[in-house]
Symmetry: C2
Subunit: 607 residues, 2 copies
């Protein structure tokens, strides 16, 4: 899945909803006034600050009608604006009422400037549970007075708000995790002790899931139980989530060192940390935590989430699980690709039918739990929309003789997958320009996958390696080359990424990242090729420093019709032939006869 993507949202224009938004905005303005403020800021995030938000946390969508994955609304008494980025310009215009909402660009016309212009000298409220301090600091630069409100006025007027999700939380077997929760808690507590921190707040539900070997079903695409936690330097944990979610299996797995408490006990628990130095990740924690701790007389120590790096370094068991999940995913992809190659030339498929067939092939595999994100299935010009999601309104026929981009992934109990292939529907040969550009993208993907490097190198230092074949032709793509991927957890995981804009976090053994260069010609077609890579130790290099290399986890053939073999260097051709040979050997035996035959042709050496 593409690195710039968040939740693709539903992107459905609901006339009833747009009509009722007027009433919602009026009611919210009354509530803001009752709270003694002149305005209010509504972010897209909920109190976990994650990429996905359950329906009960979709305040921005409820208020404005806009369902995209990134945005912010500001409501004043006399005007209101929705801020989104360039991916959502069209969508926000279709989904919001221009009589109520100004539409602004999040970075070109930032909220701070809008506030400075229209709210100078006024008191603008915010819900401190929904904003990290860094975001508030940017807003505060406007010179308006930002006022934390104890009660969120949106919640006060959101009459038909869905209930918070209450899917059961389950233990994730130690056999998949590779470390028991007790081992993880002790190792993390040791970090706190070494840093002189008496406790750490884990506001990120992913961190809680990792630390406690716990998974859940509160979100569609990430197997999370929404929860936060306080870890003490002795290893004890208070877990804040609806106790009804925790059945006997989870309670037994967590044991005595983990106390489950309802969410509304959180404020009191923080207040109980008076006199303690409490570690908080300022990038990933709502401002409310630090405010509450300081008010209670605790000392707040800003430091990275102690679980973030250990979570990114997959254990041996997690690596094995990911390999097994990728094997099953590759079998489903092979069946899907064979099916597509037979059906697509007839011109009777649609984007949605393709996506649902792919999902059906995946569902048939063991340990499948969910799509890791809504599949991006873009025919022809839709492939150029990097965050495209087919809907009944946008769905179109897949024509013969056009490119088709399919970016999809799955959550298996033992691992998370994410793969993109750009296909040619046929039956005729593709145009030369498309083959040329597909081959440039493929060469970049291969160059990065084949890179060996000494320890200390970070993702931002390798991003250009995937771009260089395109750069030589004066072409580029406007997104990062790859993102971290979780172990039966979020398909987008920090802190490492192949991106100029990512932090310089050195790559380490066990990290899993996507390698997905692309090229997009708006209105015409999009190309993206994505494999997942596992960072491994490289024993063959000279010198005393440890070296690293990548193991490719994804085992899905490339589109032969789009490869211009004459444009490949001998080493590139050898890499692709070896990859295809490996796919055939590893995946072929698990397939039915006709699919094996198809795979044999798909994986033959390039001629």
């Amino acid at each position: 899945m593409h690195v710039a993507h968040g939740n693709m949202g539903k992107y459905v224009v609901n006339d009833d909803l747009v009509t009722s938004v007027n009433g919602r905005l009026t009611a919210l303005r009354d509530a803001i006034a009752r709270a003694g403020a002149d305005g209010f800021v509504v972010p897209r995030a909920d109190e976990y600050l994650g990429e996905y938000v359950p329906p009960s946390g979709e305040r921005l969508s409820w208020l404005t009608g806009f369902t995209g994955s990134a945005g912010l609304a500001i409501v004043l008494a006399d005007r209101a604006a929705v801020f989104t980025d360039g991916r959502y310009t069209t969508q926000v215009a279709q989904q919001t009422d221009p009589a109520l909402w100004e539409r602004r660009h999040l970075t070109d016309e930032p909220p701070a400037g809008w506030l400075k212009r229209y709210a100078a000298g006024r008191r603008v409220g915010y819900d401190p549970r929904l904003h990290p301090q860094a975001a508030l600091d940017r807003l505060a630069a406007s010179g308006v007075t930002l006022v934390p409100l104890d009660a969120n006025p949106v919640d006060a007027v959101w009459i038909d708000r869905p209930a918070a999700p209450t899917a059961p939380a389950e233990p994730w077997p130690d056999a998949f995790a590779g470390l028991t929760s007790a081992e993880k808690r002790e190792a993390t507590a040791a970090v706190l002790r070494a840093d002189g921190h008496g406790a750490a707040v884990l506001a990120d539900a992913h961190s809680v899931a990792w630390l406690l070997n716990m998974r859940g079903g509160d979100l569609d695409h990430t197997p999370l139980a929404l929860a936060s936690a306080i870890l003490r330097d002795g290893g004890a944990v208070e877990l804040f989530m609806d106790p009804a979610k925790a059945g006997p299996a989870l309670r037994e797995a967590l044991g005595d060192a983990v106390t489950i408490r309802p969410r509304d006990a959180l404020a009191g628990a923080l207040a109980g940390l008076r006199g303690t130095t409490v570690r908080i990740d300022p990038e990933a924690t709502p401002a409310w935590y630090a405010e509450t701790l300081r008010a209670a007389g605790a000392t707040v120590a800003a430091a990275p989430d102690p679980v973030r790096l250990p979570r990114a370094r997959k254990t041996k068991a997690e690596q094995d699980g990911s390999r097994a999940a990728h094997h099953r995913d590759a079998c489903a992809m092979a069946r899907f690709l064979r099916w597509f190659s037979e059906e697509a030339p007839h011109g009777e498929l649609t984007e949605l039918s393709v996506a649902s067939h792919l999902l059906a092939f995946r569902r048939a595999g063991d340990r499948f739990r969910a799509e890791a994100f809504p599949a991006i299935a873009g025919a022809g010009e839709h492939g150029a929309i990097i965050h495209y999601r087919a809907t009944p309104a946008s769905d179109r026929a897949v024509h013969a003789n056009e490119p088709f981009l399919i970016d999809s992934g799955a959550q298996y109990l033992d691992g998370t997958t994410d793969v993109t292939r750009t296909l040619w529907t046929g039956p005729d040969a593709p145009p030369a320009e498309l083959r040329t550009r597909y081959t440039l993208v493929l060469r970049g993907m291969v160059a990065l996958a084949a890179t060996r490097f000494p320890q200390g190198v970070a993702g931002p230092h390798l991003d250009a390696i995937a771009r260089r074949p395109l750069w030589e032709a004066g072409l580029d793509y406007d997104h990062g080359t790859g993102h971290g991927v979780g172990a039966f957890l979020s398909v987008h995981e920090g802190p490492a990424a192949f991106s100029r804009h990512a932090a310089n976090v050195p790559l380490e053994e066990g990290m899993i990242l996507s390698d997905e260069p692309g090229f997009y010609l708006p209105g015409a077609y999009g190309i993206r090729i994505e494999n997942l890579l596992l960072v491994r130790a490289d024993a063959h290099a000279k010198g005393s420093r440890p070296w690293l290399r990548f193991e490719t986890l994804t085992l899905v053939p490339f589109e032969r019709a789009l490869i211009d073999a004459d444009a490949l260097a001998p080493t590139e051709r050898a890499w692709i032939d070896a990859y295809h040979a490996r796919v055939l050997v590893e995946i072929g035996p698990g397939l039915d006869g006709p699919t094996t035959e198809w795979l044999r042709r798909a994986c033959a050496p390039l001629s």
Copy 2:
């Protein structure tokens, strides 16, 4: 010149000096006690914080005997330590007395830890004119009390201290600079006005030199007049330097808007900024400035030196000047390389004789002013010492049939050069392993030089491109790939660099950087190949975003005997052949007949 290098120092062990150091240390301890402190920190930097220090500023060397370019001493009543980095482990051991000085590693055993251990609870003095605030903050983490001392106790006991340099300061002609000083002052003042700063402190003499189109002779290798300045937001400048340095030509060039004042007027001038917001670069300014300003009631605004980026973006005239300087430098290098190729196989040269011949060839060219740094001339195993400098003590014969590394550069009135070539003395063919590795280094150098990229890409993102051929073989080099280079100014110039450790400063048109990958086998040989690159606009790329490419400024043939042409990709071979053809066309006509003949052979297409 290699990026990790500073001043190579003299590296001469002077027995008299070592003996007298005992007395110096005793005298300093008395002076520290008289100043009411329990210890004192002696950095290598002087008050300009630059790479080179005049003899009058060599406090660290005077006190300890250590002449390297990076170090710090801390003197307590009962113990004292010198801290240096891995480049200087051997040198510091030879130059300092172990009875007086502990030798510590600057990063592995940092000064803050040593202070914590041996000076807990004590008052350790420092001279606030010699440390940027960031460095003091690191020391302060030790928990000792750091005490700024008005008078430096080293200066109090340094009886035979050389006088500060008083070389004449001269105007640098506008025809070379491309912008008049008045234009630069107005443009920089406009930045201050836009940022709401009433004035800026320029503590870096390079910034002063750039802003005022002024050059001087206070240092051996950089044409600097040591000076600092205060720029007002109206464009007026107070220039703080010995007024005796400024002759009538400079005074006329500077005009009425620049007032020359003696150094001891600086404190008073800062105090006169009461009520003004004064911009200071916290990385490049001694702490004393901000302390003095705050004490006087000025507001200190931390922001980058406003001149740093404009200085890095060379004007059209500076680019033309650099091309002309590189042309002359290439003629000198061609004469040198021909001479070397004829003499080296006889085995009668020494490292020092080679370096002095090269200097003589350069001196014969127009507008030559000085070596840009002491040449690194390393035969055989000396080539593996990245910061090697031949001295009478280390000088050795250049043998037949060995590699020879020569890294050198020059200051010409119109530009600064820096070039490294690794040569084979002959007459026999080199060993296969050496050719293989030379070719890997050359491929990396060429790959970076040939890279085109969209605006926004920074040096740290391109560093890996030069390493990748070596990485494929499990090899690497332990230094950055390249540094910025000034225009008749410092050969090491920020802020852009091809290095993982550099800041993410996007490359811009007009910047000049070195491209110098290498490989070093300690005890055996070193390989480094260095060209300078000029960042240019690339008009041929697709899309709306501006693209950039590199123009290679250095025009010196590579060592044919060390190139394994069979290991080159066709595009790499084509690049090298085209480069050599260009060298012959551009440099050949300026040479005598026999040298032209030699160059013709050196630049023939690879067979």
